[in-house]
C-alpha cells in the first residue's frame, strides 16, 4: 500500500510539472467539448435552393414564397436555364433546383395537373432525403391551398398525424451530442496518456531502474493508472458542469449512477492504454497504436452514425467498443432518466471487460524478460 502511495506521489509531481500533459488533460478536452457541442449538429437546415421559374406568374411566385419562408431553405439563385441550375449544383452552390414550367399557372387554373421538377444533389444521402421530404411537404401544403381556393371548401387531410418527441423534446442536438462527446474525451485522454506515460519510462530507461527495486508489478501499475482515474473523474465533473451551464442540458437520471459507471468504465480505458504500452517501445509507437484503436472506437461508437444501420458483422465488432456502452449509458441515464436496473448489463459488461483487459495487460507487461 505504501509503495503505491509512493508511486502515486511521484506520478502526480510529474504530471503537474509536465508542460504538455496538463493542458492535454484540462484545457484541450474542454475546448473540444464546447466546440464540438455547438458544431456537431446533424439537423439539416439552410438547404441552398436554385429557382428556375419559367412561368413568372402569381401562382409560381406563391409557391416560391412558400420555400423562401421556410427555415429549411435558402434561395441562392434564380435563372431560366437548366444549365445554370446544374452549374450551381455541380459547384456546390446549390443543394437542389426547383423548376417550374411555363404553363404552370394556366394549367392549374384550368384544373389540370402541372408538374414541378426537383433536381437534388444526392452526394450526401441523408441531406438529399431530407431536401426531398421538406420540398414535398411544402408542395403538398401549397396543393391543399389551391384545392381549397378552387373548391371554396375547407379541406382536411383524411389522416392527421400527431407526434410527440420524448426525452429531447426540442430536438436539441447538443443534448444528444454533448454527453457522448464528453465520453469520447475521457476515453481519448485515458488511452493516450496511459499508453504514453507508461512507455515513457521505458523510453528514458527509468523502468529498468524500477525493475531492480523490490517494487511489485501491480504496485507500479496501480500507481501509474490511479492518477488518470482520478483525473478522469475530475474531467467528468467539469464536463457535466459545462453541459449544464453552457448547453443547458437537463439531467434526468442520477448523477451518482454516472459516477459509479465512470469508476467501472475508466479501468477498461486505462487497461487498454496499458495494453498498448506493453506493445510499444517508444511514445511514438504508442501514439500510433492508440490512434488506430481510438479512430475505430469513435467512429463505431454510435455517436455519429447509428449502430443499428451498420452491417451485421460491424455491429458485432462494436460489442468490443467500450465507448459504445458508455455513450448508450449516458443517453439512457442522463437523457431518459434510466435507473440502475435498466443499465445493469452495461455495468456487468464493463466490469468483465475491465478485468479481462487488465489481466491481459499485466500478463504482457513482463517485469522479468524471458
Amino acid at each position: 500500500m505504501r509503495s503505491i502511495l509512493i508511486i502515486l506521489r511521484k506520478e502526480f509531481l510529474q504530471i503537474i510539472r509536465n508542460k504538455t500533459v496538463l493542458p492535454m488533460l484540462f484545457i484541450m478536452p474542454f475546448i473540444q467539448l464546447i466546440l464540438l457541442g455547438f458544431a456537431a449538429d446533424f439537423e439539416v437546415k439552410n438547404l441552398n435552393l436554385h429557382v428556375i421559374d419559367n412561368d413568372q406568374s402569381t401562382y409560381s411566385r406563391g409557391l416560391i414564397s412558400k420555400f423562401s419562408g421556410s427555415p429549411y431553405f435558402n434561395i441562392v439563385n434564380f435563372s431560366f436555364r437548366d444549365e445554370d441550375g446544374m452549374q450551381d449544383l455541380k459547384k456546390g452552390d446549390a443543394d437542389l433546383i426547383i423548376e417550374i414550367p411555363t404553363d404552370f399557372e394556366k394549367k392549374l387554373v384550368n384544373r389540370e395537373s402541372s408538374p414541378v421538377h426537383l433536381n437534388i444533389d444526392a452526394v450526401n444521402g441523408v441531406k438529399a432525403g431530407l431536401a426531398n421530404a421538406y420540398s414535398n411537404m411544402i408542395i403538398r401544403d401549397f396543393n391543399l391551398e389551391l384545392l381549397q381556393k378552387a373548391t371554396g371548401k375547407v379541406l382536411v387531410s383524411p389522416i392527421g398525424i400527431s407526434s410527440v418527441n420524448w426525452f429531447n423534446p426540442s430536438m436539441n442536438y447538443s443534448t444528444f451530442m454533448v454527453p457522448g462527446i464528453l465520453v469520447l474525451l475521457m476515453t481519448m485522454v485515458g488511452i493516450f496518456l496511459t499508453a504514453m506515460i507508461v512507455v515513457r519510462e521505458k523510453e528514458i530507461g527509468t523502468i529498468e531502474q524500477l525493475n531492480v527495486t523490490p517494487i511489485k508489478k501491480h504496485q507500479f501499475i496501480i500507481g501509474k493508472l490511479l492518477p488518470f482515474l482520478i483525473i478522469a473523474i475530475i474531467e467528468l465533473t467539469i464536463g457535466l458542469i459545462v453541459a449544464k451551464l453552457i448547453f443547458h442540458i437537463e439531467f434526468q437520471g442520477s448523477l451518482l449512477l454516472v459516477y459509479a459507471f465512470a469508476l467501472v468504465y475508466m479501468p477498461v480505458v486505462l487497461g487498454i492504454g496499458l495494453f498498448i504500452s506493453t506493445f510499444s517501445d517508444t511514445q511514438q509507437q504508442a501514439m500510433f497504436i492508440s490512434w488506430f484503436f481510438i479512430v475505430i472506437f469513435i467512429l463505431m461508437s454510435g455517436l455519429f452514425t447509428p449502430i443499428e444501420s451498420m452491417p451485421d458483422w460491424a455491429q458485432k465488432i462494436t460489442w468490443f467498443n467500450p465507448i459504445k456502452y458508455f455513450i448508450e449509458f449516458m443517453r439512457m441515464v442522463l437523457l431518459k432518466g434510466s435507473t440502475f436496473k435498466d443499465v445493469t448489463p452495461h455495468f456487468v459488461i464493463m466490469a468483465i471487460y475491465g478485468v479481462v483487459i487488465n489481466a491481459l495487460a499485466v500478463w504482457n507487461y513482463k517485469k522479468v524478460s524471458a
Binding site: R2, I6, L13, Q14, R17, Q209, V368
Partner: protein, 247 residues
C-alpha cells in the same frame, strides 16, 4: 521464508551461468566468486555479454542455466529477495529528470521500504555527503551530467545494500568527475560494500581489486590487475585487453 544460502564468505557466487537467446549464447557458462568489499571489474568489448551477465545477477533477466547467489539469495529462486539486497545503476541515466534532487532520493528510499521517519535524515545525510546542499530543490534534469551520475550512484545505495552493480557508470563524464566517482566507489568499498562494475575505460580497470575480461560470452581471464599484466608480460590493462580480446 527463503533460506539464506550458506557460504557467507562470498557476496556474489556464480556457477556456470548461461544465457541463451534462441541459438545465440550471450553468456556462456561463467563462474566466479566475489568477496565482501571487493571492487570487481567486468571488462569486455561491446556485445561481449557484460550487460546480459549483470542483468541476470540483478534479476532483470532469467538465466537459461547455472546458478547465481547474490547477497545470500539465489537469483533464480528468490529474485524478489535479491532486489532488497542490491543497488543498481544502469548504463542509461535513470533518475527522474522532472523530479527534484530530494524527491528522487525520497522516491527510492520509499520504494526500498525505508521508514518514513528515517527518510528525512537519509535525504539530508546523502545531500550533505554529496555536497549538493545548494542543488537540493533543483530538478535533476537541470544538473550537469557529472552531478547526475554521482547522485544516481548515491541513490542506488540509498538502502545500504551489501552489493552494488554499476553498469558503465562513468561513460560520458569528464575526467575530474570520473575521479570523484571513483573516490565514491572506494568509500563504498571501505564500508564493506561490494562493488560490481562494468566499464569501457581500461585505465579504470587498474583501480579494481580484481578484474575479469569477457570475450564472446566467456570469461577469458580473472585476476588482480597486477597479476593479469604479469601473466601476459605487458605494462597496461589496455594491452591485456587487446591481447585477450584478439584471442
Amino acid at each position: 521464508m527463503a533460506k539464506k544460502t550458506n557460504d557467507n564468505k562470498y557476496v556474489v557466487s556464480v556457477k556456470d551461468l548461461t544465457k541463451k537467446f534462441g541459438s545465440f549464447t550471450a553468456v556462456n557458462s561463467i563462474s566466479f566468486d566475489v568477496t565482501k568489499g571487493e571492487i570487481f571489474g567486468f571488462l569486455g568489448a561491446n556485445g561481449a555479454g557484460k550487460t546480459t551477465a549483470i542483468k541476470m545477477l540483478t534479476g532483470l533477466s532469467k538465466p537459461s542455466s547455472g546458478t547465481a547467489i547474490v547477497a545470500g539469495y539465489d537469483v533464480i529462486k528468490n529474485p524478489e529477495k535479491v532486489k532488497y539486497k542490491i543497488g543498481y545503476m544502469s548504463q542509461k541515466f535513470s533518475l527522474y529528470d522532472d523530479l527534484k534532487v530530494f524527491e528522487n532520493i525520497r522516491l527510492y528510499a520509499g520504494i526500498y521500504g525505508i521508514p518514513s521517519k528515517e527518510i528525512k535524515s537519509k535525504i539530508n545525510n546523502l545531500i550533505d555527503e554529496l555536497g549538493m546542499e545548494n542543488m537540493r530543490n533543483k530538478l535533476v534534469g537541470d544538473l550537469p551530467l557529472g552531478w547526475k551520475q554521482k547522485l544516481a550512484f548515491a541513490v542506488a545505495m540509498v538502502h545500504d545494500p551489501p552489493v552494488v552493480f554499476l553498469d558503465e557508470p562513468t561513460s560520458g563524464v569528464d575526467p575530474i568527475t570520473r575521479r570523484q566517482f571513483w573516490e565514491m566507489i572506494y568509500k563504498a568499498s571501505e564500508k564493506g560494500i561490494t562493488v560490481f562494475i562494468t566499464t569501457h575505460y581500461l585505465d579504470e580497470a587498474e583501480y579494481c581489486t580484481r578484474a575479469s575480461i569477457m570475450v564472446d560470452g566467456v570469461i577469458k581471464a580473472l585476476d588482480t590487475p597486477t597479476k593479469l599484466k604479469e601473466n601476459l608480460g605487458v605494462k597496461s590493462m589496455q594491452e591485456v585487453f587487446v591481447k585477450l580480446a584478439r584471442g
